[in-house]
Symmetry: C2
Subunit: 137 residues, 2 copies
């Protein structure tokens, strides 16, 4: 019952960038050091965020990363989607994940309320909302 490491890292990376919105570009070395994320793994994740158009990258000396849009326009759920970690409509806690009209799992009804709150949390929380909140590691 946890987000993947990759998604957790990604959210923390982008939240940090949102927090430092005055710096035009932030590089991987700084992110890895401050957030205590393995450098090479971080760059791999960042490349996926670039491909997903959540982040813009500049190569070469003085290069780095920046958010592709306003922090208030990037929701946590957008990040989870990149790593297929968002909660799908049919996703349940039993039945190896999926319930539908034909076949519902035994905890289907109990799951509804927490599921809706989780989806709400992910869909409504933007990077602006969470930037600067909490500690970095």
């Amino acid at each position: 019952m946890q987000l993947s490491n990759t998604s957790q890292y990604a959210i923390r990376m982008l939240a940090y960038m949102a927090d430092k919105k005055d710096s035009p570009l932030i590089n991987a070395t700084e992110l890895a050091k401050v957030l205590q994320i393995p450098y090479k793994f971080l760059t791999k994740i960042m490349t996926e965020l670039v491909k997903a158009d959540l982040v813009i990258s500049m190569r070469g000396r003085e290069g780095g990363y920046s958010l592709s849009k306003k922090a208030s326009d990037i929701k946590v759920d957008d990040i989870l989607n990149v790593f297929h970690d968002s909660i799908q409509e049919e996703q349940c806690v039993l039945g190896i994940g999926f319930c539908n009209g034909m076949c519902k799992c035994a905890l289907h009804d109990q799951w509804m309320e927490p599921k809706l709150l989780l989806q709400k949390m992910f869909r409504e929380s933007s990077l602006e909302d969470i930037a600067g909140k909490g500690c970095k590691i």
Copy 2:
């Protein structure tokens, strides 16, 4: 954001046994067939449930498994605990899982409400509550 396969299997296995409370013993072959769980993996999980005293086993011909207590006295959370899948107090969605007084993650506040509902769901749902609900696979 999912329970492990192992926990999902375990819950479904025990819920099925609770449902068939008239049969004194239920064997692995029947469980594996009805619930569509790999036989060998199922017996491995069941052995852990026996060691955790949630299930009693009888070896030999005519052997099988039965719940160690009333279905209403086994909560879903008891099963999750066996596989260390229960939601811990300090467990959060960021920060690789743990928040505490010193260091809270950026989604700490938003996580509180869904977390409490999830814990409530797991702690208050007994096998009696979920037996017979939903389809088996």
